[in-house]
């Protein structure tokens, strides 16, 4: 029988106490962005592109802005182990390992017991990525992301894990989808975090670059369609699960050797289910500048999943033209850490899309930087022949990249333009959602099925990811870290970087 019929009323004093502890149910954090928030790398800024008008196709990846700030002088202490060639992680001194396990932390799993590192892939503010294979017959190849440990003086210290690493670890552990990069495991060892992912042979940046050299030749229209479909499919999964990616760009979108698209790098991703304070208050700047949506550029405090769809639009355009469509130059944060208006980036957008208007975007006047828009008007480039700016950009691009006009299977065509214009829609409320975009006739127009293998029917074979096996090479990268193997670092190339993060 139900117990509390003779239990009458539960000690009400107890319940009342709950209300007296000063912690009300939905207490908003009054210091959402305390000056000392947790990131060791907050608000660093990089250098500015000196050549605003460079219209070159990407000659190297170093051309790309990142959400990371580059750090000078980061010497990875885990790069070399004296006695074993080709091993990049150093495990802690045996002395530390002998510590009694009672109070301190010792990892039960050791990364080098499980994986053999075969090379270095890339580095960023977060740390470095290595290519590895499994020991003991574990099949497959892996990419191990090693978060940079913090150092105080010469020794590595535990200083608290950055919020973005926490988010990435938690989200990657939770999420699972064929169009998301697959997390194998996370190993916390010797003050370092190792996230082990499946290895993906390619990424969109690499593919775009392959098509830019030696001469520009278009990515197969069917491949573009497949890539975009898979990308949107992964994004739909993220958004359905209330996750904003906030850093979509070609370099973060992996492609496996089987032509499967995998969204990667959840370092800036976060849940947006009923946030207690505006997303802006948490992370002042999100999304790499060239892919940043207009509402972000205009200072919107409450942004939505639509920011990811804008980035998809930019990526779509870039797959077609093999160049970033809005290649602006980033204005740097001033010493007061106020976020500047990104005038140059906004101008690049306006040059192609025209000025946003209140008619088309009713929320426009509520944007914090609305006033700044007036300073741009003189830059507007008129579309010719009554075509909109985007329309003429689109057809010119298809022509100059080398897409044929017919048959319909070899060109992204009119439907491609329609989809692009609905992704690059100023008003975030009107911009297509991932779900709507997937329904777009662009994907069904020719009656062809979109392939789950973006390389299907392709004769070209993309080169494998460059992986360095040279110890020396890696040591020298202690100069400003090599962004990717073989290319000079961002900071050397003098390019915009950005992220200030949580």
């Amino acid at each position: 029988m139900f117990p509390y019929s003779n239990h009458a009323v539960v000690p009400p004093s107890f319940l009342r106490n709950r209300f007296d502890n000063g912690i009300t149910p939905e207490h908003d954090d009054p210091f959402p962005n305390s000056p000392e928030s947790d990131s060791p790398e907050s608000s660093t800024t990089g250098s500015v592109c000196l050549d605003p008008d460079c219209h070159e196709p990407h000659s190297s990846e170093s051309d790309y802005p990142t959400t990371d700030t580059t750090e000078p002088e980061y010497i990875d202490p885990g790069l070399r182990e004296p006695h074993s060639h080709g091993v990049f992680f150093v495990t802690e001194s045996s002395e530390a390992r002998k510590m009694p396990p009672t109070n301190g932390y010792t990892s039960k799993v050791r990364v080098l017991d499980r994986y053999k590192v075969v090379g270095f892939i890339s580095s960023g503010t977060y740390g470095r990525v290595y290519k590895a294979v499994g020991h003991n017959g574990m099949a497959g190849e892996f990419a191990i992301k090693k978060f940079k440990p913090d150092k105080e003086g010469e020794t590595i210290q535990y200083t608290g894990i950055s919020q973005s690493a926490c988010r990435e670890m938690a989200l990657c552990s939770e999420l699972s989808h064929p169009n998301m990069i697959h997390l194998v495991e996370i190993i916390l060892e010797d003050k370092c975090i190792f996230m082990v992912f499946e290895y993906a042979e390619h990424d969109l940046l690499q593919i775009i670059q392959h098509h830019s050299q030696p001469t520009r030749h278009p990515i197969l229209a069917s491949a573009v369609r497949s890539i975009l479909f898979q990308l949107l499919n992964g994004l739909l999964y993220l958004h359905t699960n209330w996750v904003l990616h906030r850093d979509l760009k070609p370099a973060n979108i992996m492609v496996t050797s089987k032509g499967e698209v995998r969204i990667g790098d959840l370092g800036l991703a976060r849940l947006f289910y009923k946030p207690l304070h505006s997303l802006f208050s948490g992370d002042k700047v999100v999304v790499t500048i060239w892919y940043r949506a207009p509402e972000l550029l205009l200072g919107s405090k409450h942004y939505t999943p639509a920011v990811d769809l804008w980035a998809v639009g930019c990526i779509f355009a870039e797959l077609l033209s093999l160049r970033p469509i809005f290649k602006g130059e980033e204005a740097k944060m001033d010493s007061k850490k106020t976020v500047p208006f990104q005038k140059n980036q906004m101008q690049k957008i306006v040059e192609i899309l025209g000025m946003p208007t209140r008619d088309k975007w009713p929320g426009l006047i509520h944007q914090a930087e609305y006033g700044q828009l007036q300073t741009l008007s003189s830059y507007v480039r008129e579309g010719n022949n009554g075509k909109s700016g985007l329309e003429s950009w689109y057809w010119n691009t298809l022509r100059s990249t080398g897409y044929q006009d017919s048959p319909p299977s070899v060109t992204p065509g009119q439907q491609g333009l329609d989809l692009l214009s609905k992704l690059l829609e100023y008003d975030p409320e009107k911009r297509l959602t991932a779900e709507q975009a997937l329904q777009h006739p662009y994907f069904t127009a020719n009656g062809e099925k979109v392939s789950a293998n973006c390389f299907e029917g392709m004769s070209t074979q993309y080169p494998s990811r460059r992986v360095s096996q040279d110890d020396n090479d890696i040591r020298t990268s202690s100069l400003p870290g090599t962004k990717r193997n073989g290319f000079p670092d961002d900071s050397l190339a003098g390019r915009p970087t950005k992220r200030m993060k949580d």
Partner: protein
């Protein structure tokens, strides 16, 4: 998944049957039999209550919202299902769970602030070295397998309050019952929506009014009958239902239509009611002393 409880790591890895949980705990004690015998500890619910109060103190210093504290409590409970408490410094674990939960609930606090505020609260147990807390964070995350996203019953409560036309008072009461359930093992045993429904049920029926009690009795009867049909709802004999009874009936009808496991809700209610009963005997001094004893004796605070 982040928003879908059914695919979440919480459901897949952190929800146990009572038997399984008991077995896990038994094994933990068996592995450290000597320690366990040497340092007796109070009932787990007393310890949890103690932790809860300490966390609330820490939370108050940072004006942290309830949900982050709830997350911290889950982290602590998960951690101690993997690690014998007598091998740890519970104050450090508390501070660390708080620090980590704040990051995950998007209200990050600086590690130095957490350490210094913790040190003020528990000067005998926290040293001012942030690396201790940083190390403990590795320990916590590792034991939880980086599964840090927690689904709380608050969300279900919020989405049901209108459906069930609950008054603000009812919601607040249900909210505080949810706050209290973190002192039990329920978060490791039942899905958050079952707990939310339990809290709503208790809130609606525990009102210290005669009507509320009648409603409770009749609802309990209805709940325990296997052929639960809203139309058979007893307890409306006089034909006039007051508002409280109507709310309870709403709830019963809603339960009958839905997929909620009623048996689970009944078990949850019993657990919460007995919690309130047990906590009458709570003695903070004992908790403090018994925790202090093993921490100091084993030098775990250093």
């Amino acid at each position: 998944m982040a928003a879908d409880y059914w695919a979440s790591t919480q459901r897949r890895h952190w929800q146990f049957s009572r038997e399984a949980l008991a077995e896990i705990r038994q094994k933990l004690e068996d592995d450290d039999r000597a320690l366990v015998q040497q340092y007796p500890l109070p009932d787990r619910r007393f310890l949890s209550h103690f932790f809860n109060l300490q966390l609330a103190k820490l939370g108050k210093k940072f004006m942290i919202r309830q949900q982050a504290l709830a997350t911290a409590q889950i982290y602590i409970r998960r951690f101690y299902s993997k690690v014998e408490i007598r091998r740890t410094n519970p104050y450090l674990v508390l501070a660390t769970a708080f620090y980590l939960a704040c990051k995950m609930e998007e209200c990050p606090q600086h590690i130095r602030m957490v350490v210094s505020e913790s040190r003020q609260l528990w000067p005998d147990f926290i040293i001012s070295d942030v690396s201790k807390l940083g190390e403990c964070e590795f320990y916590l995350i590792s034991e939880m397998n980086s599964q840090l996203i927690i689904h709380h019953p608050y969300r279900t409560l919020q989405s049901l309050q209108n459906t069930l036309s609950m008054a603000q008072d009812d919601t607040s009461l249900a909210w505080s019952i949810i706050n209290d359930h973190y002192m039990t093992d329920l978060p490791l045993l039942y899905p958050p929506h079952v707990i939310a429904v339990t809290a709503i049920f208790l809130a609606l029926t525990l009102k210290p009014t005669q009507a509320g009690l009648q409603a409770a009795a009749s609802t309990a009867a209805a709940l325990s009958s296997t052929t639960l049909m809203p139309k058979d709802q007893p307890g409306s004999g006089n034909g006039v239902l007051n508002t409280q009874q109507k709310k309870v009936q709403n709830l019963v009808s809603w339960l009958a239509e839905g997929e909620i496991d009623i048996q689970s809700a009944v078990e949850c209610s019993q657990e919460i009611i007995s919690l309130y009963d047990v906590l009458e005997q709570y003695n903070e001094k004992t908790c403090k002393e018994q925790i202090g004893r093993f921490v100091k004796a084993r030098g775990l605070e250093k």
